[in-house]
Subunit: 223 residues, 2 copies
Amino acid sequence: MTTSNVQIINVAKSLLEHNDLAAALNREHFTQTNVLAVNVIASPGAGKTSLISKTIEILQNKASIGVIEGDIAGSIDTEKVLAAGAQDAVQINTGGNCHLEAGMVKQALERLNLDQLDIIFVENVGNLICPNHWALGEHIKLCLASSAEGSDKPIKYPDIFAASDVIVLNKIDLIEFVDFDRDFFYESVRALNTSAPIFEISCRTGEGLVEWADWILEQHKGL
Amino acid sequence: MTTSNVQIINVAKSLLEHNDLAAALNREHFTQTNVLAVNVIASPGAGKTSLISKTIEILQNKASIGVIEGDIAGSIDTEKVLAAGAQDAVQINTGGNCHLEAGMVKQALERLNLDQLDIIFVENVGNLICPNHWALGEHIKLCLASSAEGSDKPIKYPDIFAASDVIVLNKIDLIEFVDFDRDFFYESVRALNTSAPIFEISCRTGEGLVEWADWILEQHKGL
């Protein structure tokens, strides 16, 4: 087993270096065309598509938004964000792969007209672990958590909370019905990440979404 | 990139074959000692630890239950299941790995006295994708979903729903507060998996837990 392990570590390292290079090129492409790129990472069902759709609706007269949807299978999320008013959207089916890679995003970018866009949300595959290892060329890494998942997620999945530029806590309308210790959540996040802003939202009730949308718009202006 | 991809596929295949062999030995070990092994797979925050803890409480006079806890970091789940009355529990920290492997379970088994146990729950890392590729030697692969994740999870993560021997839908007390289409969920599951029983439960209210616990106890008797 040892020999095989060493092999896969080396190959994985080589693949990650290759990915980082592709990500750097994507990022240059985004920056040169003045498009803010946001890598949206969360567990399955935390509300990634809902967050993107609601942001598109709120910013419909202020920013032109494109979406790259990463899923193992299906295209229902792309249909949803287009219905919400996305300027353009591309679906990537990873065929079983548990995360997006920079090369996949590069291929998607060939099908998008960046000159017409201000912000691109890249919705990663629903997974709190693997996507964190694969840079896509984003300016902002967003970690989306749901109150229904419980307040211990930062403790149990520390890497993504530590690495994120912004943390969004969704489904706060459910807090009264679940076991969620808000103080514990904030303390755990701050032990890992002292600087990322934390937004509390509910895509269902709309609470907190305007503040979040204002912030992401400011990030685009600051590019 | 092509060459590297071919390399990693070959190495991964070799690792998976190695894992399958280790899993077969684990399974033989479980079966010979008359211990039912259950591989619990779910997204982060779906309620794996709660399901295991509640099952232990309900079966406290009927079955002796051990737990192998897989987490990237921390040991709070092991503390929880021991507090719930687990006969024994071992924590595996994967150090970033997104799934458990058969070799990790083998190491954990060396620290458990199987002769004293009837059922072992192996709580996998919170991830709906990667654990599905790595057999652990379980008799039963359990897919746990939460109503708060939405009813489209079978469509978006088809492999795990197709491969599971039993599907448990948790947090049904939240259905009235979230967008969950029960008919769509069942139709999607049945399109992938015609035979796995589906249990609806709420670890918070206790609904459905006795029926589930009776079923798992029957599976042990049928070993």
